[in-house]
Point group: C2
Amino acid sequence: MTEQTPPVSALATDPEYRAAVIDLLGVLAYGELTAFERLAADAAMAPSIDDKAALAGMATGEYHHFTALRDRLELLGVDPAEAMAPFRRAYEEFHEQTAPSDWLEGMVKAYVGDGIGMDFYREIAAYVDDDTRALVLEVCEGLGQSAFIIDRVRAAIVEDPRAGGRLALWGRRLVGEALSQAQRVAAERDALSTLLVGGVDRPGTDLAEIGRMLARLTDNHSRRMAALGLAA
Amino acid sequence: MTEQTPPVSALATDPEYRAAVIDLLGVLAYGELTAFERLAADAAMAPSIDDKAALAGMATGEYHHFTALRDRLELLGVDPAEAMAPFRRAYEEFHEQTAPSDWLEGMVKAYVGDGIGMDFYREIAAYVDDDTRALVLEVCEGLGQSAFIIDRVRAAIVEDPRAGGRLALWGRRLVGEALSQAQRVAAERDALSTLLVGGVDRPGTDLAEIGRMLARLTDNHSRRMAALGLAA
């Protein structure tokens, strides 16, 4: 846990930047809360007690990230529920569109989601002030607890090779849905988008760099699918 | 967290007592794991983000209790999953028989379950060695996070007075199912039952005291139902 001193910097002097950071914390916090829920639901479906415990542990980790983000919102004098509310629909639609039909799909989703989350936290860290960056990286460090899933998915594919094709398609659908919801959020939340493209006094990034960021995210996704033994 | 030194005492010298404590830790650990799952499922159903966060926090607390109990089983040289396995069916049947049909039933179940759990931990503490007692009481201290539910249930009954009758019946069903599963577990697990009734060299309790214990549990349950504004 980083020490929670009231952040100064651009947060105090630039209302547009402040709104952007509040949006960022809100979208991350609600994401952690729904990740908690999804992983807990996976734990409930787990065939073995050890897998159940491992998934419950991952879920608990997400809840602790949630509280770190929520505490920061409170420190900024913002009602966390209000900051999260604008993003509720996007997450709910994402999860409705990608409800796992079985345990294996749930595992692939948990692993892929954990990885994409970690990548996104690392990318966004480049665009925020020092205090926010420290928090974002701290939460990010707690991710990546999903390595045990690799064994489970690989073993399942050895047992039933046809599962590989189905799960590869599933992985593609997960990323497609995530990108489409992310795009909607970016379109609806001007402040949040200016984090990337910059504001009046703040350098942003150019389209080429955004393209490279997306390339990094999809490359990492492909690497993770390969680790599971799946085509991306 | 109590310091985890290898317990000695009756645990080392009395195999029957050791088996009983392993059963006790197993039944409590699996109970915490399923409590985690049920509260997380309630969080997913929560109408407001604040309630969602509060229930997710309760669930996370149960997960931490689970890890404390699991760590103690490992310290005793036991595979936690094996120690929990005999109790899986009882919990699963309990939760199948008492699946909440809506958010309010889920809240009453969370509140009543939290309370019964706390009472049971306190009662059982009288029958175990010092090390086990310290662990049991430590876990117990983490319970009782459900007071916020009182407001939610009371408010719902004010809004729809008919809900009170339905929820009162629901509370009775919860306790009935819990007792019937507990009875089955006691019948199937001889070692566990000897914790209460005693072994060759260990004083147990008599039937009259078991009756008084049950009376205390049901009295406390009635008090909790009254706190919710419900007839027991």
